[in-house]
């Protein structure tokens, strides 16, 4: 046993640098994307030349990074290995958040100003469809089987479920005030929608499209109005969900089976969005008001370190290095 363990750790040590991941963080005020090495957590590069970058995601193979450049009114595209800028994608005005379809070909973009979701083919760079939704579309999620894309509209207070083939809305689920983010469990059975002003997370049964539980939060010493759920991510095994609570400076840990909050992790100020490392061991949080990201060890739910990035970090995505 000992021998095996020793061998395993030496392999890990040797393999470590070669398998280090890259963490890409969009800095809304800094007009840049900070790139960090996941092992050293050192900043290895800063991509500049964009205005108000917010939503950030990667192609399924991790080779291409997409950034919503809100004030440029387009999606900027970068090579994850060389950081070279690739041709941009049309996005519609003021893109804030988007989601990549699991096929890696279609990007679904929320356009806050126009009450539409724009669907863009990332290869041909053509707009495939514009889907009218509620007022101020924001959060975007996609079902694991790729059949449904969810958009949340902040003033209409709904999750709009859009068929990814027909681009028709197939259901609307009313949630609490100012829904910001939508995320499915890996088995596709639960859809979580965060409501920033409502201060809740709706757990929606995808079989019936009904809310099975509205999850609330409570932290001693934190004003209730500061508990504002924004970003949410579910672990790959579907056991836990993490909820960024904005100005409460906490990430809530949610047990998915019971839909109960099990812990609150103190991170940086105004925690906004979350992203897992490719192996799922770590969760990265963007902390907008303290200009850093926090690293959460997923196994132990410990916040291990915070690392300075650019001004007002907004979104984060981690990919494997070559």
């Amino acid at each position: 046993m000992k021998l095996i363990a020793a061998m395993a750790s030496s392999v890990a040590l040797l393999a470590g640098p070669a398998f280090a991941d890259k963490i890409f963080v969009s800095n809304e005020k800094g007009n840049s994307v900070t790139v960090l090495d996941s092992d050293s957590l050192e900043v290895i590069h800063t991509i500049t030349g964009m205005q108000r970058p917010r939503g950030i995601t990667a192609s399924p193979d991790g080779k291409v990074i997409y950034v919503c450049a809100s004030d440029d009114n387009l999606v900027r595209v970068y090579d994850a290995a060389t950081y070279e800028e690739l041709p941009s994608l049309p996005s519609g005005p003021d893109p804030e958040l988007f989601v990549m379809h699991p096929d890696g070909k279609k990007l679904f973009i929320a356009n806050e100003d126009d009450n539409i979701v724009t669907v863009v083919d990332v290869e041909t760079r053509q707009v495939l469809a514009e889907v009218p939704v509620g007022v101020e579309p924001e959060g975007m999620g996609v079902s694991p089987d790729g059949r449904i894309v969810v958009n949340t509209s902040e003033t209409t207070n709904m999750a709009h479920l859009i068929d990814t083939e027909s681009y028709e809305i197939v259901a609307n689920v009313l949630v609490d005030s100012r829904p910001r983010f939508a995320e499915y469990t890996p088995d596709g059975k639960i859809l979580f929608v965060t409501a920033e002003i409502g201060g809740t997370v709706a757990a929606i049964d995808t079989a019936t499209n009904e809310i099975t539980k509205t999850i609330t939060f409570e932290v001693p010493g934190v004003l209730p109005e500061a508990l504002q759920p924004v970003g949410l991510r579910v672990t790959a095994d579907g056991s836990k969900a993490y909820v960024a609570l904005g100005p409460a400076n906490r990430v809530a840990v949610l047990d998915v089976a019971s839909l109960e909050v099990t812990d609150y992790l103190l991170v940086g100020q105004r925690v906004w969005q979350l992203g897992f490392s490719p192996d799922g061991q770590f969760l990265y949080t963007t902390n907008g008001n303290s200009n850093d990201i926090s690293v959460i060890d997923v196994a132990s739910d410990e916040v291990t370190v915070s690392v300075q990035v650019g001004e007002q970090p907004w979104g984060v995505v981690a990919v494997k290095s070559d």
Binding site: V135, I169, R178, E225
Partner: protein, 397 residues
């Protein structure tokens, strides 16, 4: 549809399948603007646009309609202008036509008269929402059970500024008030705020409105001679606080005071419910939707009318298909809350019908700060550190 209820569809829809035939429910509202003849503002930038407030109604109705399109709800809003003399007749006409939700843009006295008229004609079946007057009496001795306030009160605005000034350690104030009754009421709100947050008013002066035109060619020549003298030999102070509801003199204070001190209150750093530069908490989306629609920046009254109509829209979404009593009960219940680009949920105070809301502190081109300031705590809601709190209310509705 009966006279004072919405058409009732009788369907509770948590999940709505689009394309399904929905019985349409119509929600009717009106905005009644009472234009009193008055003098011109000092700056031509402040001339009122013809669609003041009504533009906010158009946007609020459109936002409600977009949401309503998913729920089988339609929204119509009538906009009516009146003078103080014709306001009552206009109100009666709206009530006779069966409009149960009426937003008013009027001075304090007219607002109370309209609320009383609505109660006499329709009892609890009509809800009046004040989207303009900041007068504290409307939330105090003159409060009414059928009257809600989405406009912040003078006390809330004064407290919002006071918290910031005290946070900045600018605690010694030179208070200059106008000679109109509404100026004196505002000055009283500042005196109260000073006492509440530990500031001191070290000097008080009244700027008499002697009438006369406010804009004359090269009027600045006299102003430059008069204002420094008017503010001369004041006790040592950190800031000037101007209480000038009537808009007679405050805009002339910055850069003209005898001592080099910042001006706050009715000019300089101004507490407001809305400003076209406000971008936080999704505010940009409101600004761009509004500007695209109306080709001008939004004013306080536009935002306040939008908020009033969103109160109706939010209640319609949450109650769905109910008659107006259901809407009204929900709005007045502790379950009601509204998102309105202020970074937290806005709710109504049950003791005086006032909408709790953060206050923007505007420094001309930017929103310099937003109150309540973090450091001023409150046992119930930090928003109740602004304005008249439950134990001190004079409202006996």
């Amino acid at each position: 549809m009966t006279r004072l209820t919405f058409a009732w569809a009788g369907i509770v829809l948590a999940v709505v399948a689009p394309g399904a035939a929905l019985a349409e429910v119509e929600y009717r509202a009106a905005v009644l603007r009472v234009d009193a003849p008055g003098p011109m503002p000092i700056s031509r930038l402040d001339l009122p646009p013809a669609d003041l407030g009504f533009a906010g109604a158009v946007l609020g109705t459109a936002d409600n309609a977009t949401t309503g399109s998913f729920l089988g709800q339609t929204f119509t809003t009538e906009t009516v202008t009146a003078t103080p003399e014709t306001a009552g007749a206009a109100m009666k006409q709206l009530i006779d036509a069966g409009v149960p939700f009426i937003v008013t843009l009027a001075d304090a006295a007219t607002t109370v008269e309209l609320a009383d008229l609505a109660r006499d004609l329709a009892g609890d079946d009509v809800l009046v929402v004040n989207a303009s007057s900041t007068d504290d009496r409307l939330r105090g001795v003159d409060c009414r059970a059928n009257l809600l306030h989405v406009a912040p009160s003078d006390a809330m605005l004064a407290d919002g500024l006071a918290q910031y000034l005290v946070w900045k350690r600018w605690t010694d104030w030179f208070l200059i008030e106008g000679s109109h009754p509404q100026d004196q009421a505002l000055a009283q709100a500042y005196r109260r705020a000073a006492e509440k947050f530990g500031a001191r008013i070290v000097e008080e002066r009244v700027y008499e409105d002697t009438g006369g035109a406010r804009r004359t060619d090269s009027g600045h020549v006299q102003v430059q001679a008069q204002m420094p003298v008017f503010t001369q030999r004041a006790a040592d102070h950190h800031v000037v606080v101007a209480a000038d509801h009537a808009g007679v003199f405050a805009d002339w204070l910055p850069y003209h005071t005898w001592d080099a001190r910042p001006v706050t209150g009715s000019a300089g750093l101004v507490p407001q419910s809305w400003h076209p530069a406000h971008e936080a908490w999704g505010g940009t989306q409101f600004q761009s939707r509004f500007e695209q629609q109306s080709n001008r920046p939004a004013r306080d009254q536009d935002y306040q009318v939008w908020t009033a109509l969103r109160v109706l829209g939010e209640a319609a979404t949450r109650t769905q298909g109910g008659d107006f009593a259901a809407i009204r009960d929900f709005v007045l219940s502790p379950d009601f809350s509204l998102a309105a680009f202020k970074g937290q949920k806005l709710t109504f105070r049950d003791w005086d019908g006032q909408l709790r809301q953060p206050v923007l502190l505007v420094a001309d081109r930017v929103v310099a700060s937003v109150s309540p300031q973090e450091e001023f705590l409150h046992q119930v809601s930090q928003l109740d550190s602004l304005g008249v709190d439950r134990p001190e209310t004079e409202c006996r509705k």
